[in-house]
């Protein structure tokens, strides 16, 4: 499809008449979050004709409204190879995105507030060592010396120095610019109205056809999977986010806690971004809004670990809609019912940093038929097992 088609389709009014001439592509992508636009970019770079359909704006939901953590630490073992691969891509994010998207490898410091949590940190660090991830444990004295702003409730911390943060509002749009420059067609305000096998997708009055369909629709990925007889228990997950006024600069690391009930980071302007708990949403509209009570709880948790935050002014809050899975692991891999259908959704509140690698892996699955990252744990059929999902021994579910 030419650039002119792109412009024509973009310019069409949202309720225009049905266009009987289908637009054909090699790969159709539903959902313009980090995974979808990254897949569009990696596929287009290898010469594939890609059309991506996004119901709203690129990166408008989970990919754009999250905490912005670029974090390997604390992940479920099944996600670690994926996170490691993505972290490698983050090292060249300027080249990939045409922008640094404010990526700062400032380190991720995960705090323990009691002995049991400290033991959890040690256990995870031991496991992660097997994947080549190096962490540094900071005991009570070391953490006091290096981070004097922490309160008495903090007894230890684990630092993964190469983790960091980036600006979530910038990543997906930046990837989208590069994907378009590489020849992909990304269409915003194209809500999918119907999908037929083959595949024939109707969106915004236009039919699109392609032999391969990528389902990167986040929460709404559940609807796409159900359409092909693979329903999954996906819920709308709305991270409740707050930000303070700019404060004197004190904290250089991205801070998390065992249990995940609060997470925060201070951006270079001085504002502290903090999250914890959930907002509310109506995915059908779609609309989401942050809630006061989880916000107050997150504030109290934040003040417990950083007492100087008491009395700071909260100037803004936000949330968005992500797909949350019961085991907090994404659905990623080929459909079991429909040849040519490839899923990647349900990143359960921690998919932001994975986006660059997810797209690359999807492009490999489509073009090479294989990838070097193990995906078995993300198989969509896992929800059909008699014994249900595996217990969450790594306590990643809340993060």
């Amino acid at each position: 499809m030419s650039a002119r088609d792109d412009r024509r389709a973009q310019a069409k009014p949202s309720t225009g008449g049905l266009n009987r001439v289908p637009i054909t592509a090699d790969v159709l992508i539903i959902g313009g979050g980090g995974a979808g636009v990254s897949a569009a970019l990696h596929l287009a770079k290898r010469g594939t004709r890609v059309v991506l359909l996004e119901r709203g704006l690129i990166g408008g939901q989970a990919s754009g409204v999250n905490h912005g953590g670029v974090r390997q630490q604390g992940r479920h073992p099944a996600e670690i190879p994926l996170a490691i691969r993505s972290r490698r891509l983050w090292s060249n994010i300027q080249e990939l995105c045409g922008s640094d998207v404010e990526f700062d490898p400032c380190g991720h410091l995960k705090l323990a507030r009691n002995a049991e949590q400290e033991a959890d940190l040690l256990r995870w660090n031991e496991m992660a060592k097997g994947y080549g991830l190096e962490t540094t444990m900071l005991g009570r004295n070391a953490i006091r010396a290096q981070h004097p702003y922490f309160g008495e409730s903090v007894i230890a911390g684990s630092l993964l120095a190469e983790d960091g943060s980036a600006n979530p509002r910038l990543l997906a749009p930046a990837l989208a610019r590069m994907a378009r420059a590489a020849g992909a067609t990304l269409l915003e305000h194209h809500k999918v109205e119907s999908i037929e096998p083959g595949f024939r997708v109707l969106a915004n009055g236009q039919e699109f056809t392609a032999p391969i369909l990528l389902n990167t629709a986040g929460f709404w990925g559940g609807e796409v999977a159900a359409r092909f007889g693979e329903p999954v228990p996906v819920e709308s997950l709305n991270p409740n986010m707050l930000v303070t006024e700019p404060l004197p600069y004190f904290c250089s690391v991205n801070v998390g806690v065992v249990g995940g009930d609060v997470y925060l980071r201070q951006i270079p302007r001085g504002n502290v971004i903090l999250g914890g708990g959930r907002g509310e949403s109506d995915p059908a509209l779609p609309r989401s809004r942050p809630l006061p009570d989880p916000g107050f709880l997150a504030m109290r948790k934040a003040i417990e670990i950083i007492p100087r935050l008491e009395g700071a002014l909260i100037i803004r809050s936000w949330t968005g809609i992500d797909g949350g899975m019961p085991d907090a692991l994404p659905v990623m891999g080929w459909s079991h019912t429909t040849p040519g259908l490839l899923h990647a959704f349900g990143f359960s509140g921690h998919g932001f940093m994975l986006g660059p690698a997810v797209g690359e892996i999807l492009s490999e699955l489509v073009l090479d038929g294989r990838t070097d990252v193990p995906l078995e744990a993300f198989d969509i059929a896992r929800f059909n097992r008699q014994d249900g999902v595996e217990p969450d021994v790594w306590k990643t579910r809340l993060e």
Binding site: L57, G64, R169, L170, P173, R177, T244, E245, R269, R289, P290, P292, F296, M299, R300, A302, I303, L309, E310, G311, A312, L313, I314, I315, R316, S317, W318
Partner: protein, 446 residues
């Protein structure tokens, strides 16, 4: 029935008065320590300027509003110094923060939002220097504290507030050094027939002009401020007259305000649909003539819904209270509602003529130099916004941080939309409006 009235300006006062008459005891929440609103701002206790000096021709109305507040306080659940920072339309809850910083949840069956208005800013290079403030803010400094914002003051704006403040400062013994009215004479004259819808109001404007002329204060019609100069604070204003000639006037205070802008954040959080008003060039919450919105239990009145001035606010406050009473199944006098509708209709004609006579200088805003600090909270320039590929304002916010700071775009929003629309080559309504989020003003972490 639990009724909440937010705001104790003219609209809120009249709404509460009528609710109390109907036997309802509302919760009455006001952000400032006392009632009266910005238009009838009271001086702090101990100040002795009398009502005539403070409010001029409106002294009697100001006194009536203050007396009504004093009389009603005991008959309602009066909560002054309290900020409403969130509204949840589903469970019908307000979140408040009291004067001691404590937060509360306030349920409502019906809420009348009388949230008032603020200055409509026009950012120019140097507008963040000490010594520069809003036109309305300068008037409040004068009314509340008897303060002029400087010894040599420039007033930049349009419409009645500009003239009124010029006259009030002159009467107080601090005549402005420079008055720049953005509307040209031609614009004002073309709208003159419409101004006859309110002969008293129109004549008052002419009287201010004549009085200022007698005192030697000249009003430059069709003139616009270009740049505030000065090392650490405002020392001079660079401006352009109607013929295009540039001038530099030494000043130590500059007040800039191009009309007012409704405080619509709570209506937005309530989910009230907004429509673009082409005369005011603002997105306004939709309501019927009684103040009802599409959101169950949410009513709007006064300048917080659409700029109409204090007379309209009083009428609209009464009318919204009558709507609440009517919707609760109690009878209201149709003669009274008809009378209010007629008066509101007349006032709306006058207001439309005023908007035509004294429009927001949109083209000047759109053309602000790249280096202008458009968003002063986040220090984002007009050039930063123009450099994005954002198709609408929320994307502009996401890419540049414009409107993300403490004011949440209340100050820079409309001017930012003009800049972005001009950069995209589209109409200002096509770049949309900033979505609101709680808290509408900052809330203390506790």
């Amino acid at each position: 029935m639990s009724v909440v009235v937010v705001g104790a300006g003219p609209a809120g006062v009249r709404a509460v008065e009528r609710l109390v008459e109907a036997g309802i005891r509302p919760v009455w929440i006001e952000e400032s320590p006392d009632g009266g609103g910005r238009v009838f701002q009271k001086p702090p206790p101990g100040f002795s300027r009398d009502a005539k000096a403070l409010y001029g021709a409106d002294a009697a109305r100001a006194q009536a509003i203050h007396d009504t507040v004093a009389r009603l306080r005991a008959q309602v659940d009066w909560r002054p110094g309290t900020l409403v920072w969130n509204l949840r339309p589903g469970p019908r809850l307000l979140n408040t923060q009291g004067p001691d910083g404590t937060t509360q949840e306030v349920p409502y069956e019906r809420v009348i939002l009388c949230t008032g208005a603020m200055d409509r800013a026009l950012p120019i290079p140097g507008w963040t220097k000490p010594g520069v403030t809003g036109l309305g803010a300068a008037q409040i400094a004068l009314k509340a504290q008897g303060l002029a914002i400087g010894r040599r003051v420039a007033l930049c704006g349009t419409g009645p507030l500009l003239l009124l403040l010029a006259w009030q400062l002159t009467k107080a013994g601090a005549p402005p050094a420079l008055v720049l009215e953005s509307a040209g004479w031609g614009q004002t004259l073309r709208a003159a027939p419409g101004l006859a819808w309110n002969p008293v109001g129109a004549l008052r404007g002419l009287a201010w002009r004549a009085a200022l002329r007698r005192k030697g204060v000249r009003i430059h019609a069709g003139a616009l401020p270009l740049r505030v100069e000065g090392a650490d604070s405002a020392q001079a204003l660079l401006w352009r007259d109607a013929k295009g000639a540039e001038h530099r006037t030494e000043v130590d205070g500059v007040a800039i305000g191009y009309g007012l802008k409704p405080e619509t954040q709570l209506a937005d959080l309530a989910g009230v649909p907004f429509a673009f008003d082409t005369l005011q060039r603002l997105w306004l919450p939709e309501r019927d003539r009684a103040g009802r919105t599409a959101v169950p239990g949410v009513y709007l009145a006064g300048d917080g819904a659409s700029i109409g001035g204090s007379v309209v606010a009083e009428l609209a406050g009464t009318r919204a209270a009558l709507a609440v009473i009517e919707d609760a199944g109690q009878p209201v006098d149709p003669l009274e509602t008809d009378m209010i509708h007629r008066r509101l209709w007349l006032e709306a004609r006058f207001r439309a003529a005023l908007e035509r006579a004294f429009p927001y200088p949109a083209a000047h805003a759109a053309a602000m130099p790249d280096e202008t600090l458009l968003c002063r909270c986040e220090a984002i320039t007009a050039g930063d916004l123009r450099a994005t590929d954002a198709p609408e304002v929320n994307r502009g916010k996401a890419f540049t941080r414009i409107g993300m700071g403490r004011c949440q775009g209340r100050v820079c929003g409309p001017a930012g939309a003009e800049v972005l629309a001009a950069a995209r080559g589209c109409a200002v309504q096509d770049v949309g409006r900033l979505r609101g989020q709680m808290p509408v003003k900052p809330v203390v972490m506790a």
